[in-house]
């Protein structure tokens, strides 16, 4: 199971990559592995606004339904449309092609509530 350096992580197993005011959000390698083959993704609409930890969509594996929570507050500026037809990218490339959404942060200080990759590694080992 890999984690990726330079990202922030939530306890719900989302990762966050900061690109200025914008963040890219996805689910971790650990999360995709726990979920199994992802066969359906339901993502929010562009321009929708959410508070930190709001439910913003759903990923479904063959067996299970699992909610996606936004680790940060803000406005959706882009969703990964590719996933609607190729949700398996979440399994194949969770940190890259399998990204879920891009969000414009409304409160950058919330980043301080997330874990770095070392902390996240310890978190999943302790789970």
């Amino acid at each position: 199971m890999s984690t990726k350096e330079g990202l922030f992580y939530s306890e719900d197993h989302e990762w966050v990559k900061k690109e200025g005011k914008i963040v890219v959000i996805g689910i971790s390698d650990h999360a995709q592995s726990e979920l199994g083959d992802v066969v359906f993704a339901e993502l929010p609409e562009v321009d929708e606004e959410f508070d930190q930890f709001d439910n913003i969509g759903v990923l479904e594996s063959v067996k299970a339904v699992s909610d996606i929570f936004t680790p940060l507050s803000g406005k959706i500026i882009e969703i990964n449309e590719e996933l609607l037809n190729a949700p398996e990218k979440i399994n194949e490339s969770p940190f890259d092609e399998g990204w879920l959404i891009k969000l414009e942060m409304s409160d950058e200080s919330e980043l301080d509530t997330l874990m770095d990759s070392e902390q996240y590694k310890a978190f999943i080992e302790g789970e």
Partner: protein, 357 residues
């Protein structure tokens, strides 16, 4: 949690495990979709040792079995198998099971793991005189070898004449030098075999099958693939699609009810449903919109609730979302347009009455 004799092997193989009716069972090894395709295109090996086995024997065993099940065990010669519901007086399905005729007056009933104790109590309480029931579930381990390559594979480790074994028949003999019951049965809709043996032989038999399976691309397969495989063939799963609140006719199991045989438990009620009709029917559906239906999701047509989903999944063979649902009888027609409520969204679906694959 209860463990099958193959439990350690599942952990060694890195399976994801789940609590399935009190049993610690593998849900997947390499991934449900990969295992599903292995069974459809090559072969898969399943541990199904959690299944229960109940023996009914004695001078009056045939009559005793006949009273308990809706199908006709008198049709069976020794070596034959049939599928049957076992019902309550009101027609509610206690379990669905396989009946192996192992002797003139000896039968082995293979029952769902989650129902084993309930079934055995029911059988004991409703057994005719001159018959004896024994719960032999601890005496048998069981694996299923399923898929188009399963026969070729097994020929490497048994001398039993598999070419002469028809669907729903069984042999007793040796596989990998161990005494087994080997039947041409399964829950996948593919050519396949189920093998019963002494639990102490489980590791040996599993490894011999895995070894022989290398050249046939055999993969160990878990309950996840077992579920997608059976759902594509529209086989009922007890606890999802059928239970004590459903009767065989509405579940589409009318072909397993033999009205002409002597008194069996549930006969009166089922005859009444047959003669006077019933309200709902189990149907297949494929989703034409976007989403996956799950157990208990509501089904609508023209804004009115007409039923509920009993099983739903992503079909790996079709790449589509499919399922089973009870709907009002007027909607049990091929192509009928229905809607399924998925998280407050109405998603279009279409009724399908024949197996999806």
């Amino acid at each position: 949690m209860k463990k099958t004799p193959l439990n350690e092997i599942h952990y060694e193989l890195g399976a994801k495990m789940t609590d399935f009716g009190g049993w610690d069972m593998p849900i997947e090894y390499s991934g449900i979709i990969e295992e599903h395709h292995a069974v459809r295109n090559a072969c898969g090996l399943f541990d199904v040792s959690h299944m229960g086995e109940i023996k009914i024997s004695g001078d009056n065993a045939l009559e005793a079995v006949q009273r308990l099940i809706t199908n006709d065990a008198a049709r069976l010669s020794v070596g034959d198998i049939l599928y049957s519901p076992m019902c309550r007086e009101n027609g509610g399905i206690i379990d669905d099971l396989l009946v192996y005729r192992t002797g003139e007056e000896s039968f082995l009933l293979v029952v769902n793991a989650s129902n084993q104790i309930k079934d055995f109590n029911w059988i004991e309480n409703n057994l005719l005189e001159g018959a004896v029931a024994e719960d032999l579930s601890d005496n048998y381990a069981m694996v299923a070898v399923q898929g188009p390559e399963s026969k070729k594979l097994l020929k490497n480790i048994t001398d039993l004449p598999l070419d002469d074994l028809a669907y729903y028949h069984f042999f007793t003999g040796k596989v990998a030098d161990k005494e087994v019951i080997l039947s041409r049965t399964g829950y996948t809709g593919e050519l396949g075999y189920e093998i019963y043996f002494n639990p102490s032989d489980a590791n040996h038999i599993w490894h011999k099958i895995m070894e022989a399976g290398k050249e046939y691309d055999l993969k160990p397969a878990g309950l996840g693939a077992r579920d997608t495989l059976r759902l594509e063939k529209m086989f009922c799963l007890y606890g999802n699609d059928i239970d004590e609140t459903t009767h065989p006719l509405e579940a589409g199991l009318g072909w397993t009810v033999q009205y002409n045989k002597d008194n069996f438990i549930g006969q009166k009620a089922i005859c009444k449903f047959h003669d006077h009709g019933f309200e709902r029917r189990l149907v297949g559906f494929k989703i034409t919109g976007r989403g996956i239906a799950r157990h208990d999701y509501e089904v609508f047509a023209k804004g009115e609730k007409i039923g509920s989903v009993t099983s739903g999944t992503h079909s790996p063979s079709l790449g589509k979302s499919i399922g089973l649902a009870y709907v009002k009888k007027e909607f049990a027609k091929t192509g009928a347009e229905i809607e399924i409520k998925i998280r407050n969204r109405m998603v279009a679906a279409e009724v399908v009455l024949k197996p999806f694959v």
